[in-house]
């Protein structure tokens, strides 16, 4: 029976953790079995994980409210790890699915040099929408999906913060 629901960026994984002596854990996550050994259980735990014939390593630490930070392969991950109750099953079909948001955001803070689409215009994936000046470069922000422009939240000359919504497409 799965005993954890792990969430990150709108995705959910379900996992069953079996603990064994000497820090060895066997985790069945979706369809894969992942083994890891806890080498050190300090403030930031250290793990070794056999992978594709060699070893890889991870560090982890628990935060408040069920959040767990994991660092592996040079990247940080922040998960929400919630134990599943006895009869609870995770929602099917959500794991691994990536929903492409129609909200086009500024990837870094900068200034809008040019708005290249009009309200109501039909766009395809890759259509240039906005020219954003940041870090001395003119960055072309393009449509992540096809659809129609239903909202333009900025105009030329405006300064925007990171993650600010620039354009919305549905």
């Amino acid at each position: 029976m799965p005993n954890y629901k792990i969430q990150i960026d709108g995705k959910t994984y379900s996992a069953n953790v079996e603990t064994h002596p000497k820090g060895y854990c066997k985790i069945v996550l979706e369809n894969s079995t992942i083994e890891c050994t806890c080498d050190r259980n300090d403030a930031i735990a250290a793990w070794s994980i056999p992978l594709d014939g060699s070893m890889t390593h991870a560090r982890s630490r628990s935060m408040e409210s069920g959040r767990v930070e994991v660092w592996i392969g040079g990247l940080p991950f922040q998960f929400s790890v919630l134990p599943l109750g006895p009869g609870e099953m995770p929602s099917p079909g959500k794991s691994g699915e990536r929903h492409i948001s129609g909200q086009v955001r500024a990837i870094m803070p900068g200034r809008i040099t040019s708005v290249m689409v009009r309200l109501g215009e039909k766009v395809a994936i890759g259509t240039p929408l906005i020219l954003l000046e940041a870090m001395k470069m003119q960055n072309e922000i393009v449509a992540p999906k096809s659809g129609r422009v239903i909202s333009i939240r900025v105009r030329e000359g405006a300064t925007v913060k990171k993650d600010a919504i620039l354009v919305e497409i549905i």
């Binding site: 953790v17 820090g23 070893m55 994991v70 392969g73 040079g74 134990p83 020219l131």
Partner: protein
């Protein structure tokens, strides 16, 4: 009397220069901005000098403040590192006027290579092949289109006063030229202060090969070998090697001769690198001269045993080096990975932040150049390069295997890094075969994404395991048996 040198730079290269100076019993003065008050190299400089400000313009590009620092502390010379003022003619001139030895080329020799157009002219006159392109700055879109039509598409619009792979746009047809001409001019102004733009033909799948040279003042130019720098993302190098699988002895001879001819024609002095683009046919063309110490100088040091920073200092003060051409030997193979504070999941957006824990790899054939430490806050104002991981092996395969292990041992915890990209490269058959060119990294996106997905899955598993091993502390909870008690079944209170 002991020499004293001011280091007009920061981060890993400041530490590199300090290390060379310590070895040579030269005293060091390190300038620092407000953002670098807690930087690691400060601890190893003999003196530190606050120049204030945070942005490069306020600090590391401020000639006035730097010269003041050097004169107040009684420095004999200034080492500019790379980037910042390392190729700034006005800075070199000011040093010369203030009788401070600039550790790099003379102002005279910089003049001929002052910008990309003058460098092209200098090289062409010296008989070095150059990429077909415009001879002058382009007046407007119409002229750009006319030149591009004549040379043939695709072309690359480039900033005349640019370099380092920045301020460039590819144009596949006249519409692109029209679309990007204005943008390229804007970027040229923001990045380089002048909007002059020219264009060059875009070569088909070339390799980027460069030659490291050291020019002594009597125009004796030593060649320290080639470097392979084709693995680039948006023209920024990410993995470099010495030597190159694409360069035979005879090609090396030709490239070396072209380098000597070109640098000689420019009356160049001190360390410098001439970059070439190499077509599959074996034809090579001059790309750019780097009139400074380069980021990837470490791979040349690993294969030749030469301390390039030491040689720079010696040539600057004494006009001679410790080297003779017939003694320079390339032994084994070295690879360098540039670890940047960038998020590969978000299009390599820079990711400043705190590195809460840092642990570098070590062991045979491993070299780390970095100013990181546990608790270091990577500032947002400067380059995203935070660590250079290089390996040496008796042959290329050994260097690669050592790199894989080193990338796994390296712990930079707290911020996203480019490590997953480097691991993907090191395990990719095309890289391992040595058959790749400057388009290579673009082809790796599917494999990189696969790795990113895999990392997320394993991380999720570890998160669940962590939760089991370290359940959240709750004041109502009974303390659980230690996980390390081993034989008995782990017991925790469900919440």
């Amino acid at each position: 009397m002991t020499l004293k040198i001011l280091i007009a730079n920061r981060g890993e290269i400041a530490l590199r220069i300090i290390r060379a100076c310590r070895k040579l019993l030269i005293k060091t003065v390190l300038i620092y901005s407000d953002a670098d008050q807690n930087s690691l190299p400060l601890a190893y400089a003999d003196e530190r000098y606050a120049i204030g400000g945070v942005t490069p313009v306020e600090s590391y590009l401020n000639i006035g403040k730097i010269i003041q620092a050097a004169t107040e502390t009684g420095c004999d010379g200034i080492h500019p590192g790379y980037g910042f003022l390392s190729e700034d003619a006005a800075f070199v001139k000011t040093c010369e006027e203030e009788h401070i030895t600039f550790i790099g080329p003379s102002h005279n020799s910089l003049a001929k290579l002052a910008n990309k157009l003058s460098a092209r002219t200098c090289m062409q006159n010296a008989g070095v092949p150059i990429i077909p392109g415009s001879d002058e700055a382009l007046r407007d879109e119409e002229e750009a289109i006319a030149v591009a039509d004549k040379i043939g598409y695709p072309v690359i619009l480039k900033a005349v006063y640019g370099g380092g792979g920045r301020g460039m746009r590819i144009a596949n047809d006249s519409n692109d030229v029209r679309r990007y001409f204005r943008i390229t001019k804007m970027e040229a102004t923001t990045s380089f202060g002048r909007d002059a733009v020219y264009l060059e033909k875009k070569l088909v799948e070339p390799r980027h090969i460069e030659i490291q040279a050291l020019a002594e003042k009597q125009n004796k130019i030593l060649i320290l070998g080639e470097r392979e720098c084709s693995i680039q993302r948006r023209y920024q190098k990410l993995v470099e090697e010495a030597p190159s699988t694409a360069v035979s002895e005879s090609l090396k001879e030709k490239l070396s001769r072209a380098t000597v001819k070109g640098l000689d024609a420019a009356a160049y002095t001190n360390a410098g690198t001439v970059e070439f683009l190499l077509e599959p046919t074996g034809q090579f063309y001059f790309l750019e001269v780097n009139k400074r110490l380069q980021v990837e100088h470490n791979v040349t040091e690993l294969t030749t045993g030469i301390d390039i920073v030491e040689e720079q200092i010696k040539v600057a003060f004494e006009s001679i080096s410790n080297l003779a051409q017939n003694e320079i030997k390339v032994d084994g193979w070295a690879i360098n990975c540039r670890i940047n504070a960038e998020d590969p999941r978000r299009d390599f957006t820079p990711s400043p932040g705190t590195v809460i824990h840092y642990h570098p790899p070590s062991g045979p054939g491993i070299r780390v150049d970095s100013a990181l430490y546990s608790g270091h806050f990577v500032p947002e104002y400067y380059d995203s390069l935070i660590l250079k991981l290089s390996t040496w092996g008796r042959h290329r395969r050994e260097a690669i295997e050592r790199m894989k292990g080193a990338l796994d041992e390296l712990e930079i915890i707290g911020i996203p890094t480019t490590i997953p990209l480097h691991q993907t490269v090191m395990q990719d058959e095309h890289f391992i075969s040595g058959q790749f060119n400057t388009t290579y990294l673009n082809t790796l996106t599917p494999k990189l994404n696969q790795r990113l997905e895999q990392l997320e899955k394993i991380a999720a598993a570890v998160a669940a395991a962590n939760r089991t091993v370290k359940p959240p502390q709750d004041k109502h909870k009974i303390s659980h048996r230690s996980f390390w008690r081993g034989t008995r079944r782990f017991h925790h209170v469900n919440n």
